[in-house]
């Protein structure tokens, strides 16, 4: 079978990696400087930081217990007394649920990406460094996982261990690592031919040391960019799974779950779905734009490339 090709412009990646290495130890300061000049990316950063803060402290500041139902106060519109964002069909305060929902979405997003990142980096590193049959086997495996429809995995897994966020995290992380593996492998492929690797080997350094101390720091950049996108993908995937009933179980509010619960009341109180929907859009936008910014910073030649 044809070798795996990174879907983005490979020559461009190579150039970026070279630049990284060429810039030297102050490259991170340079990168930060460039990032701060990109207003859009900065906006994205602000959004992401804001939601992270909300996720961390928000639920503690919530005016009500997110699960507290006051059946007689249900379906109140936003700006009702005592309920800034109104209440849902069971009389639960929307703001309190939203705050927790943001935390859940962020945690799931970060959690799955962390899993995917670790697994993907290890696999990609091994494949790119050793090449040969190790690469063939691992790449085949990557391609296998790359093809699995997420929903299928999710349904099977959740069918086996029961519905809930644990299943979602495992399922989404399990599928998404392939993307990281492909990128990391591509990077390592190119880096491996550089002189510094040969030099390190001549000095008698072991494979593991080379991989960890020399190659790893250089793939971190691309991993960061990918990570940003993948957190967004994970958040949407969790929301989608919750929307079809496979994610967070009652009374836990995930943003997707809230949209689902509100979908039947669009004419009575569309805010039940609209507000969590807007939150997801903002969060995902922030992450995407930040990712774009990071990528631009790491190689201006990539600027604007979709």
């Amino acid at each position: 079978m044809a070798d795996l090709i990174v879907p983005d412009d490979k020559a461009v990646w190579e150039a970026r990696v070279e630049r990284l290495w060429a810039v030297g130890p102050s490259r991170w300061e340079d990168a930060w400087y460039e990032l701060s000049r990109n207003r859009l990316a900065l906006g994205g950063l602000v959004i992401v930081v804001f939601f992270t803060l909300v996720a961390v402290v928000g639920p503690a500041l919530a005016p009500y217990d997110y699960a507290k139902q006051v059946l007689s106060d249900n379906l109140l519109p936003p700006l009702s007394p005592g309920h800034l964002l109104g209440t849902d069909a069971l009389g639960r305060d929307l703001l309190s649920r939203l705050l927790l929902g943001i935390r859940i979405s962020m945690v799931v997003g970060l959690g799955t990406t962390a899993i995917a990142l670790v697994i993907g980096t290890i696999v990609g590193m091994l494949a790119g460094y050793y090449r040969g049959w190790v690469d063939r086997v691992l790449s085949g495996f990557v391609e296998l996982v790359w093809g699995f429809p997420l929903i299928l995995i999710a349904v099977l897994l959740i069918g086996a261990i029961g519905p809930g966020l644990v299943g979602v995290v495992i399922a989404v992380g399990f599928v998404n690592w392939a993307g990281f593996a492909r990128i990391v492998r591509g990077d390592v492929f190119a880096l491996r031919e550089k002189e510094f690797v040969a030099a390190a080997r001549a000095l008698g350094k072991g494979d593991l040391e080379i991989m960890v101390r020399h190659l790893l720091p250089n793939v971190v950049g691309s991993a960061l960019v990918m990570g940003s996108y993948y957190i967004a993908i994970a958040i949407i995937a969790e929301a989608a799974l919750s929307f079809i009933g496979m994610g967070a179980q009652p009374p836990l509010p995930s943003l997707g779950q809230m949209i689902n619960e509100g979908s039947g009341y669009m004419l009575l109180n569309h805010w039940l779905s609209t507000i969590p929907g807007i939150v997801i859009v903002l969060l995902v936008l922030g992450l995407n734009v930040l990712g774009d910014g990071l990528r631009d910073v790491l190689d201006p030649r990539l600027k604007g490339l979709g």
């Binding site: 296998l144 699995f148 669009m266 997801i280 995902v284 979709g306």
Partner: protein, 296 residues
């Protein structure tokens, strides 16, 4: 690729049969019936045997060309394949066409009118298109077009009006990405040397743009079609479920939930096969477009 399919089929087979629940709960047998009746049903289906035995029996059937039939209502899988694959293709191709028809002209326009309000608007729209979760977009569209305006049907298949909203939702993300890609690719090529030469020769701008630049700019875009198709499959599952469009994705989710083993197994493989094909096409297309990219 065959290896991948074989491994996939084994994994899926095991996963399905090991997961709790079985077709006896899926609506075929009376769920109020006693344990004995349900066990008798399982026995008739051969579900009480060890999984690897079941797998070999399955392989034997496949070898004779017997794909099996749905456990739920007996429809042969070949028939299901014909109808559902056709429906999925119709939806997918429509979405793809929509996204290209909108994205490419917009991308060109945005590139040509770079940094004007046209460009900002287009880029803003693209960012939005990439950020909106498709199920929320579906909800909003149904709210406006079905609920308030009574213009479009809210679900079902297979008349053209029923195709409009699912195709739009499915096309949304792809349109945004394709548009950005077109724009940046155009930008890259608009500053090429040969373009300046053409301009110097006195060719009208639109001629330069459309007939010369676009052709080169579209190469990376088109080469991504394969990958786009692959992504579409994943998203299509959700869209089909929301709009009850009976495509392969919808059938897959439904059959897994009902533990309709033959259908679930077969169509997961179909889906995987399709994604593999799409990836392979993407690799080829990309290699063709950029020979210097072909990696050892």
């Amino acid at each position: 690729m065959l290896l991948i399919l074989t491994i996939s089929s084994i994994v899926i087979f095991y996963a399905l049969r090991s997961a709790p629940g079985g077709p006896s709960g899926g609506g075929v047998i009376n769920p109020l019936a006693s344990q004995e009746i349900r066990q008798a049903y399982d026995k008739r289906l051969g579900l009480d045997q060890p999984v690897y035995t079941q797998y070999f029996i399955y392989l034997r059937h496949l070898a004779t060309g017997d794909l099996g039939a749905s456990l739920v209502n007996g429809t042969p899988i070949t028939e299901l394949l014909a109808t559902h694959a056709r429906n999925s293709l119709v939806l997918g191709v429509t979405a793809l066409v929509i996204s290209y028809v909108i994205a490419i002209p917009l991308g060109v326009l945005a590139a040509v009118k770079r940094n004007t309000w046209v460009d900002q608007l287009a880029m803003g729209g693209a960012i939005l298109g990439m950020g909106i979760p498709n199920f929320w977009l579906a909800l909003i569209l149904v709210y406006f077009f079905s609920l308030r305006l009574n213009l479009l049907p809210s679900s079902g298949c297979c008349d053209p009006p029923q195709l409009i909203m699912p195709a739009l939702v499915l096309a949304a993300e792809g349109t945004a990405v394709t548009m950005r890609m077109t724009r940046s690719s155009m930008l890259e090529h608009l500053s090429d040397d040969f373009v300046r030469a053409l301009r110097a020769k006195g060719l009208p701008e639109w001629n330069v743009v459309i007939r010369h630049v676009l052709r080169n700019a579209l190469i990376p875009v088109i080469s991504l079609t394969g990958l786009r198709l692959g992504w579409l499959i994943g998203y299509a599952l959700i869209v089909e479920t929301i709009f009850r469009w009976p495509g392969v994705g919808y059938l897959l989710v439904d059959s897994v939930l009902r533990r309709d083993y033959p259908v679930a197994q077969f169509f997961s493989l179909v889906l995987i096969l399709f994604v593999l094909l799409a990836n392979w096409l993407a690799d080829i297309g990309y290699g063709l477009a950029n020979p210097r990219i072909r990696v050892a």
